[in-house]
């Protein structure tokens, strides 16, 4: 026998990250509450109607809707919330010439270092999920939203890339609190803004490396989850369910 020494290629299901999400598309009503909550939580700016219509909306999460067939005989597909998949092997990371897009070893997340970003936008081109948003201008927030800022999150200026962080400020807050109380973070102790706002509980967030956590249980129970574009070897950490 010839030993070919084939390196095993990990696909999404075998890869275990740290934080992950399970999204049940059958539950999603497309109400956009997660989009609004994410914008409030993460100080996402308002780009206005015109820029938004030109593909410059900056939402870190979006609800994708598709239909099949020609009007009026159209069939809607389930709503598909799409945000950064926090890939284990992210294509956005190696292409940044300034190390502004880096991988967190501690949290197993893709970080965007806003104040290191010089705005080459290569990461956004190379993201197969197209979930990165660029600050095309210094947008003004309409009143009274200008008075609403989350003090735990920085605001970004023009020329900088940004994206979903899995609400890393909440992760850190929970970890700090648990550490000061001398314990581990309990599953369900905190969640991301989108999951918290979802009235249909279509989004669940938690530890994917803990088999007893809710996300792991849901993933097992449905058993037919899909990770988007995992054939590219990106090792995404978000699992989608639909049709059952």
């Amino acid at each position: 026998m010839i030993d070919l020494k084939v390196t095993e290629i990990k696909m999404g299901e075998e890869h275990v990250g740290k934080w992950g999400m399970v999204i049940d598309q059958d539950m999603c009503t497309g109400c956009q509450a997660c989009v609004a909550a994410c914008a409030m939580e993460n100080n996402i700016t308002f780009v206005g109607e015109k820029d938004s219509g030109y593909g410059r909306s900056m939402h870190w999460i979006r609800i994708e809707r598709f239909w099949q067939g020609e009007y009026p005989e159209i069939k809607m597909t389930p709503n598909q919330p799409m945000m950064c998949q926090q890939c284990g092997s992210a294509t956005c990371e190696p292409v940044c010439p300034a190390f502004a897009t880096v991988h967190s070893q501690a949290e197993q997340l893709n970080l965007q270092v806003y104040n290191r970003c010089v705005g080459t936008r290569y990461c956004a081109n190379n993201c197969p999920y197209q979930v990165r948003s660029f600050n095309w201008r210094d947008y003004k927030r309409p009143e009274p939203l200008a008075n609403q800022f989350n003090p735990d999150v920085t605001v970004r200026r023009r020329g900088v890339m940004e994206k979903c962080t899995f609400c890393i400020q909440r992760i850190h807050k929970a970890e700090d609190k648990a550490k000061s109380e001398g314990r581990e973070v309990v599953d369900g102790e905190f969640t991301t803004a989108c999951a918290q706002a979802c009235p249909a509980t279509a989004i669940t967030f938690g530890r994917v490396d803990d088999p007893e956590s809710l996300v792991s249980q849901l993933a097992r129970r449905h058993g037919h989850g899909v990770k988007h574009l995992e054939e590219l070897g990106t090792l995404p950490n978000v699992t989608y369910f639909k049709g059952g």
Binding site: Y54, G55, T91, V118, G119, S133, F134, W136, R137
Partner: protein, 484 residues
């Protein structure tokens, strides 16, 4: 080395008369066989630099206004307001800025190709226009630099891409093709500038000896005290030889690395292993077109240039253009064919979008301008020796190659694996900025034509000394001796 071997075409009626006529014909056709006294030739080149018509200044003033508005004012505005005033969006995060970067680097390729490759292969027809081509390399790279810096969201922090020592020990990411790009383009700019400068030294010394006033000082500083001794020539020849050889791999690597910006990405249509040579041949295609345009303009507008640049040169470059056009067609077909045959659904979608989408007209005219027109025109010696015809062909090739880059960048970016984000790109302030770089290129070239000898006089004189017409019986034979 063999030269021309022109036989008598008709049976001679009066042998002596006809042979002298044949010689005259040869002289008229070939610069190398039509020597002038060195002093006179030097004066002709000096004249072409000094005698400036009012039309020059009118064009110069118009271009200056375009540069001031299109390049500097518009760029300043974009820096102040953000990239929102450009047309880039999601998913076309890269737009005309990158198209222009690739385009200008492509233009810069022909300079080195003509100068270095023809020099190491000792193609005699190169002699009068090597400098005109080398200047395009340097000035084209300047525009490429402008275009890529415009593209950055926070250009005032461009130095973060350079490996400079800092207290946080932060270095550029050498995994990124953009970092490779920066290194490659900087290397190319520095080496091509040195390569431009070396053969210029004897001409600067010539100009120094024939100037007065501020020009004298200018040439004196630049000529580095060159006096033309045997030792100086030996050193200069050595240095030029090393540079001519060394710059060829640099030239190939630069455009290959530019292609890796795209080929190394995980996008349908970009992730192609043939992009390296395909981009190199594309760069040569547009670059040769640009060289021939520049030569047609120089011959038409500058004094005494009809002596130096003759139909034989357009003929020779025309042949090269035809060859490169065939090469481009070969690589294009290879790239297209393999991607289509691969059957990946996203690539299929993209190829259909190229051909049948709203920018289908651009895809089709790219093929017409880059393949059909050069093939239809350049096969004919008479047509490819006519300056205005090859000027138009060169212009169309450049438009076609710009379209090619436009299709590769914003058009291909419109389609990705997330159909929800598909959207077309409409350029905004990129248009004045792009026109600004074009005007700045022409402006730099015009300024250079007043300051440095556009014809490498010593190279022409050296070639003329090496060429000789000899008679063997009834036949006039061109013989070329090895001087170097």
């Amino acid at each position: 080395m063999t030269g021309y071997n022109k036989k008598e075409e008709k049976a001679p009626a009066g042998v002596h008369h006809h042979e002298s006529h044949g010689e005259e014909h040869l002289r008229e056709q070939h610069l190398m066989l039509d020597p002038l006294p060195r002093g006179q030739m030097n004066e002709m080149v000096m004249e072409s630099m000094h005698e400036t018509s009012w039309k020059f200044w009118v064009v110069f003033a118009i271009l200056s206004v375009i540069v001031a508005y299109g390049l500097f004012f518009s760029w300043g505005k974009m820096i102040a307001e953000g990239l929102g005033i450009a047309g880039v969006n999601r998913p076309s995060y890269w737009g005309i800025f990158l198209v222009n970067t690739v385009f200008w680097i492509g233009i810069s390729h022909a300079g080195t190709f003509i100068s270095a490759i023809l020099r190491v292969f000792r193609a005699e027809f190169r002699r009068p226009f090597t400098r005109a081509a080398e200047l395009m390399t340097t000035f084209g790279l300047v525009q490429a630099g402008f275009s890529i810096f415009m593209h950055m969201g926070r250009v005032w922090l461009f130095y973060w891409l350079l490996p400079y020592p800092n207290e946080r020990m932060l270095w550029p990411n050498l995994h990124s093709p953009l970092s490779w790009d920066l290194i490659a383009i900087t290397t190319y700019l520095l080496s091509s500038t040195m390569y431009l400068f070396l053969p210029l030294i004897p001409d600067l010394a010539m100009a120094r000896d024939r100037s007065t006033g501020w020009r004298k000082t200018f040439y004196k500083v630049l000529a580095l005290g060159f006096r033309g001794t045997e030792g100086e020539w030996a050193h200069l020849r050595n240095a030029m030889n090393i540079f001519a050889w060394a710059i060829i791999p640099v030239m190939f690597s630069v455009h290959t690395i530019v292609s890796w910006d795209f080929a190394a990405a995980t996008r349908p249509g970009w992730n192609s292993s043939i992009f390296g040579p395909y981009f190199v041949i594309g760069a040569l295609h547009s670059g040769m077109g640009a060289v021939i345009m520049v030569l047609a303009v120089v011959r038409g507008t500058m004094k005494n240039m009809k002596y130096f640049i003759r139909p034989e040169h357009f003929d020779a470059i025309g042949k090269l253009m035809l060859l490169i056009s065939m090469g481009w067609a070969y690589f294009f077909f290879n790239d297209y064919m393999v991607q289509w045959y691969g059957g990946d659904k996203w690539t299929h979608q993209l190829l259909h979008f190229h051909e049948e989408g709203p920018m289908g007209w651009m895809w089709l005219s790219m093929l017409v301008f880059n393949i059909v027109i050069p093939w239809a025109v350049l096969w004919n010696r008479k047509w490819r020796s006519t300056p205005w015809i090859v000027f138009i062909v060169g212009l169309l090739i450049n438009v076609g190659m710009w379209f090619e880059r436009y299709i590769i960048i914003p058009v291909s970016l419109s389609i990705n694996r997330m159909p929800f984000t598909w959207r077309l790109y409409h350029p905004g302030i990129e248009i004045p900025l792009g026109i600004g770089t074009l005007a700045f290129f022409i402006l730099l070239y015009m300024a250079a034509s007043r300051l440095i000898p556009l014809v490498p006089v010593w190279e022409v004189q050296e070639g003329q000394m090496a060429h000789e017409l000899k008679k063997f019986g009834r036949e006039t034979v061109v013989s070329v001796s090895e001087l170097e």
